[in-house]
Amino acid sequence: MTPPATLMVLLPLVLALLAAPAAMLAGVYRPRLAAPVGTAFAALAFSATALAWWKGGGAVNVAWAPTWDLRFHVALDGLAALYALLATGVGFLVLVYSSRYLPLHLGHGDRPESEGTRFYGHMLLFMGAMVGLAMAQDLVLLFLFWDLTAIASYYLIAFDRHDAEARAAALMALLVTGVTAVLLLIGALILYSAYGTFSVPELAELVEPGPLLNAAGLLIAVAALAKSAQVPLHFWLPRAMAAPTPVSAYLHSAAMVAAGVLLLGRVYPLLQESRILLDTLLVVGLLSMAVGGVLALTQDVLKQLLAYSTISQYGYVVFLYGLGGEYGAVGAAFYVIAHALAKCALFLTAGAVTEETGEDRLSELGGLRKPLPLLAAASGAASAGLAALPLTIGFFKDELLFGAALARGPLFAGAAVLGAALTLAYAWRFWAGIFLGERRDGASNPPAALVWPVVALGGLVLLGGLWVEPFARLAEAAGEVIYDAPASIEPAYHLDLRPENLMALATFVLGALLIFSRPVWVGAARGVAWVGGKVGPERLYESSIEGLNRFSDRIHRAEVRDLRSRVAAILLPAGVLVGLGILVTPTDGVYRAGEVGWHDVPLLLALVAVTLATLASTLTRRHVTLALVFSSAGYVLAALYAFLGAPDVALVAVLIETLVTLLFIATLKLIPYKVLHRQAELPLRLTRRKVYISVVAGAFAFAVAWGTLSQPAAESSTAEELIALAPEAHAKDVVTVILADFRGLDTLGEITVVALVLLGVVTLLRGGRLR
C-alpha cells in the first residue's frame, strides 16, 4: 500500500483520536475554546472519513506486539465507514448542540465553565474510541477500543459527579459493560488458541462450526448484547439517563449502544457459522423488542421513554442479525442508520424541551407546537422516521425488517409487525405528549444551537425517505462486510399489495389501535413494569452488589488482628503443608537415625539440656527468666561448637549470646509494666493454644531437619575446596578467610544489616519511646 493511501485510511482515526487531547488543551488554555476546537475536530474527522471512504477505503496492517501475534490492523471497509460516519457526524451535531446546552446545564449547578473541558474531552474520547472500534480488525485491538468507550461513557454518565444517582448509574454501566467486555477477551483468546490469529477476516476463513466456535461466539455475543443493552442486561441503560442529555443522545444513537451491534456485525462472519448462536440472537432480539416496547409505553419521564425505546430498537437489529441472510445483514446496517438519525433528534428534542420548560415528564408537558414550531416539525419528522411512516427513511428500515422476517416464516413476520406497532405507539406518545394538547407551560425562543441540530437530523430523516440511494449504498457496503459475501438491497416505494406493504399497513392499524386503546391496557403494562422492577435483573444486580459487600464485611471480621495469631497463621499452615508433603512423598528409608556411639554422649547431653531449657521456657511467666532460659540454651549450643572442633564459631556464639541477652533485658525495660503484666497473666486457654501452635511448628521444623539430614550430604562439598584454597589467600584459619575473602560479599552484606539495625534503633528510639 502506498504511503498516501495509508495516510488516507489512518487520517480519520488519527483526527478522531487527536480530538480529545486537542479540546482538553484548548480548554485548559481557555475553557471557552474547548467546544469550538472539539467540534472542528469532529467535522474534520467526519470529512476525512467520508473522503477516505469515497476514495475506496483501504487497510493498514502492521505488527503491534509480535510476541502475542497482536496486529495493529485497521480497515475502512463498509461497516467501519458506516459507524465511523455516524460517530463523527452525529458527534458533530451533538457537539454543536452541547456548545449551547452545556453552559445552561452547568449554570443550573453553579459549576465553573472549566467543567465543560472535561465534558468535551470525554465526548471526543468517546468519538475517537468509536472510530477506532469501527475500524479495528484485530480482536484485541477491538477490545482496547471497546473498553475505551466504556471508560468514556463512565465519566460522561458521572458528569454530574456531585449527584449520587449519577455516580451509581455510571458504576452500574461500567460494571455491566466492563465485566462483560472480559468475556469478549476470553472469546478472542479461545479463538486464538484454536486458530492462532486474532484477525477477524482471517478467523472468518478458518473457523468451523462446533462447540469451540459456539463457546467463543457466545462469549463475544454476550459482551455485545450487554453493550447494546439487550434483555436481560438492559437495565443499565435507563439508569444511564442520569447523564446530561447530549451524552444520552450520543450514547444511544452513535456510540456506546451502537458499539454492541457494531461488534456483532464485525464478528458476524464467525457467528453465522453457528445456528445456535443465530437463534440465541433471535430470541434475545425478540425479548428486547417486547420488553423495551412495552416499558417505553409506560414511562412518564421523556428520557426514560427514549431509553426503553432504544432497548427495543436495538432489539430489532439483533433480531435482524438472528434472522440472518443477506436481508438480515444489510437490514441491520440500514436499521442502525435510520435509528441513529431519528433517536438522536428525539433526545436533543427532549433536552431542548426540558431546558426551556424545566419539565422532563410527559404528564407535565403539552402544547408546545405553538411556541416551538420548528422544533415540533423537525422532531415530528424524526418521530415519523422512528415510527416507520412513509416518506421517511424509517419506512425502508421496516420494509427490510419485514422482508427478512417473512423469509423466515409467518410467526416471525407477526412478531415484527407487533414490534413495529409498539414503536409507532410510543413514538406518537412521545411527540404528541410534548407538542399536542393543551399548552401547559411557557416556553420562549430556544437558542438556535438547541434547535438546528434537531432540524438537520429531522431533515436527514426526510431526505432518506425521498432519496434513499446514498443510505442504501452505505448499508449495502456494510452488509457485505457483515454477511461476508456480496449483498444488495433495493429499497423503494412500491404501490402494490406485496406482503411487506400489507405488513406495514397492519402495523399502522395496530399502532393506531394501541394509541387509542391506551386506557384499556395501560394498567396492565404498568403492572408488568412494576413486577419487572421488583424481580428483574436490575434488582438482581443491586442485591448481588449489596450481598457482596455484606459478605465481604463478614469475612473481614474473621481476619486475625493480634500479633500472636498473625505468627500462628503462618506457622500452622506451613506445618500442615510440610506434613502434607511428607504424607504424599514416598518415605521408605528416609527418616532413619544413624548409630549412636559413645563419642556422641556430649552431643546428646547438650541436646537434652537445650530441650530442657526450651521446655522450661514454656513454664515461666516472667519475661526476664524467659530471656535467661533462652540464653542458657544458646550457651549450651555454643559449647557444642567447641566440642565439634569449631572454636571460632563457639567464640562468636558466646559473644553474641551475651550481647543479645543483655540487649533483650534492656528492651524489656522499655515496655510498659502493665503490658508485661497483662501478658504474664494471660488466661490458660490462650496459653494452651500457644502450646498447640508451638507443637505443630516444632514438629514441622523437626520434619524438615530430619528429612534433610537423613539424606547423605553431597559428595564434593564446597567446604573442602575452600579449605584447600585457604593458603592461596595467605591465611591459615579457614573461617576467617571465608568470611573476609571467599564469601566476603556475604560478610559485607551482613555487616550492612548490622549497620541498618543501628540506624533503625537510633531512628526508632530517638522519640524516646518504643511504641
Partner: protein, 465 residues
C-alpha cells in the same frame, strides 16, 4: 564489562554508606540519593539490554574460581525484576523528596533497600541471595516505621516479627539445600538436586515456598500485610508493594521454576489451589473496605494469587505470565499507593489509571497481565481445569472492577468537588501522572514487556532440560 553486574547494587550501597551519617532531611542529600538511585536504575537497564542481546552475564567475586567465591549472575529474569523494582523505588523516593523528607535516615535507608534489592535479583548464589534479602527486609522494617506515628511503628513491629519468622524459614531452607547438594551456587544446586530423593526436597521446598509466599502476602500467609500497608506512609507502602513484594514473586520463580523444578511440578496442585483461594479471598475482602490503602492491600493478596496460578500452570506461557503479571502488579500498586494520598487536579486521573489497570481495562497495562493469565489458563490442559480457571479468573477480575471503582468513586469522584483539603504539591501530582502515563504507554505498546516475559520463561525452562 562484567562490572555492570555489581554496579546497580554497588552504587546504591556505597552512596547509602556515605549518606547515612548526613542529615537526609536536607533536599541536597535527598536529590543526591535520587541521582544515585537513577544511576543504579540506568545500570540495571543497560544490563537488561545486554543480557537480552548476549545472554546471562556472570562474575565471581574476588576473582576466585566458580564454587569458591560468590557468583554474581545477571540474567533476563533477575534484571527485569531489578529494573522494575528500582524504578518503583526511585519514583516513590522522588515523591517523598518532593513532599519533604521528615527523617534524617530516610534517604540512606532507601538506598540500602535499593542495594539489597538489586543485589538479590542479580546474584547466582543462594546464601548471598539470603544476605541481600536480609538487607532489603531490614531496611523495609525500618522504613515502615518511618514518620514514627503510632500506627507506623506498630506496623513496623508486626512486619518485622512476622517476616523474621519467614526469614528463619528461608534460612533453614537454604541450609537444607546446601546440605543436600554441597553447593550454594544456584546452577550447581539446580544440577545436583535432581539426584536427591524427592522426599527430602519436598520439606525444604515447602519451607522456601512458605517463606516467599509470606513475602508476597499469599493467603493464608497474608495476615501481616493489610496492617502494614495501611499503617505505613504512602511512598513507603508504594515501595513495599511495588518493589519489596517482588522478592516474593522473583523468589518463587527462581527457587521454584529454576532451582527446584521437580518439587514445583510435584506441588503444583497445592500452589494452584492456594493461588485460586488467594484470588477469591483477597478480592472478596477488598470489596467492602473503605480505606483506599486497605482496599489496595487486600487487592494485592488477590493479585498475587494470579502469579501463583501462572507459576503452577508453568510452561512457557505460564512462566511468562508470572513475570508479566508481577511487573504489571508492581507498576499498578506503586501508582495507586502514591496517587491515593494526593489531592487536587490530576491526582484523581492518576489514581483512575491505576484503578483501571487493576481492573484490567485497556489501555492501562493491567489488561496485558489479564490476557497473559487467560492465555495461561487456556493452556492449563484439560477442559475442566481450563474452564474452572477461566471462570475463577473472570470472577476475580469482576470483583476487581467492583472494589477498584467503589473506592475510586468514594475517594475521588465524589470528593473532587469539596475542596476541603489543600491540593498536594504540584510536582508530586505531576510525578504521579507521569507514572500513570507510563502505565498507559506500556499498555499501548506491550511488546517489550512481553519479550521480558517470554525470554525469562525460556531461561527458566532451559534449566529444566
Amino acid at each position: 564489562m562484567t562490572t555492570l553486574v555489581i554496579l546497580p547494587a554497588g552504587i546504591a550501597w556505597l552512596l547509602a554508606a556515605v549518606i547515612a551519617p548526613l542529615d537526609g532531611r536536607r533536599p541536597l542529600w535527598g536529590w543526591l540519593a535520587a541521582t544515585g538511585l537513577g544511576a543504579s536504575l540506568l545500570a540495571v537497564v543497560l544490563l537488561l539490554v545486554r543480557v537480552l542481546r548476549e545472554g546471562p552475564v556472570e562474575v565471581v567475586a574476588g576473582g576466585w574460581p566458580e564454587g569458591v567465591g560468590i557468583t554474581l549472575r545477571a540474567d533476563v529474569l533477575g534484571a527485569s525484576f531489578a529494573a522494575v523494582s528500582l524504578a518503583v523505588v526511585l519514583v516513590a523516593f522522588v515523591h517523598e523528596v518532593l513532599l519533604g523528607v521528615r527523617s534524617r535516615t530516610f534517604p540512606a535507608l532507601v538506598l540500602f533497600l535499593a542495594a539489597g534489592l538489586s543485589g538479590l535479583f542479580l546474584t547466582g548464589d543462594i546464601f548471598n541471595f539470603y544476605v541481600f534479602f536480609e538487607i532489603s527486609m531490614t531496611a523495609s522494617y525500618i522504613l515502615t516505621g518511618y514518620r514514627e506515628e503510632n500506627s507506623q511503628v506498630r506496623a513496623a513491629f508486626i512486619f518485622a516479627v512476622v517476616n523474621l519468622v519467614g526469614s528463619v524459614m528461608f534460612l533453614s531452607g537454604i541450609a537444607g539445600l546446601y546440605h543436600l547438594t554441597g553447593s550454594l551456587d544456584m546452577e550447581v544446586v539446580a544440577g545436583r538436586i535432581g539426584q536427591v530423593e524427592l522426599s527430602s526436597i519436598i520439606p525444604i521446598a515447602t519451607v522456601i515456598f512458605v517463606a516467599f509466599s509470606l513475602k508476597i502476602g499469599l493467603f493464608p500467609f497474608h495476615f501481616w500485610l493489610p496492617a502494614v500497608y495501611v499503617g505505613s506512609h504512602a511512598p513507603v507502602a508504594a515501595i513495599l508493594s511495588g518493589a519489596v513484594a517482588n522478592i516474593g514473586s522473583y523468589g518463587l520463580l527462581r527457587f521454584g521454576a529454576d532451582v527446584l523444578p521437580d518439587a514445583l511440578s510435584f506441588g503444583a496442585p497445592v500452589v494452584l489451589v492456594l493461588g485460586v483461594v488467594s484470588i477469591v479471598y483477597g478480592a472478596m475482602q477488598a470489596v467492602s473496605r473503605h480505606d483506599t490503602s486497605e482496599v489496595m492491600a487486600y487487592s494485592t493478596i488477590g493479585q498475587v494469587g494470579y502469579i501463583l496460578v501462572a507459576l503452577a500452570v508453568g510452561g512457557p506461557v505460564g512462566y511468562a505470565a508470572a513475570v508479566v503479571y508481577s511487573i504489571v502488579n508492581s507498576l499498578n500498586k506503586a501508582l495507586v499507593f502514591l496517587a491515593a494520598q494526593l489531592r487536587g487536579p490530576l491526582a484523581g486521573a492518576a489514581f483512575a489509571v491505576g484503578a483501571f489497570s487493576i481492573a484490567g481495562v485497556p489501555p492501562a497495562v493491567g489488561f496485558v497481565g489479564k490476557i497473559a493469565l487467560f492465555k495461561t489458563s487456556i493452556e492449563a490442559g484439560g477442559l475442566l481445569e481450563t474452564t474452572a480457571l477461566v471462570v475463577l479468573i473472570f470472577a476475580g477480575s469482576a470483583l476487581s472492577f467492583v472494589y477498584a471503582f467503589q473506592v475510586y468513586q468514594r475517594a475521588f469522584l465524589a470528593r473532587e468537588y469539596r475542596n476541603n483539603k489543600r491540593p498536594s504539591p504540584r510536582a508530586t501530582r505531576v510525578l504521579a501522572i507521569s507514572l500513570a502515563a507510563f502505565v498507559l504507554a506500556v499498555g499501548l505498546w506491550p511488546e517489550p514487556l512481553l519479550v521480558l516475559g517470554t525470554e525469562s520463561a525460556a531461561l527458566l525452562l532451559e534449566g529444566l532440560r
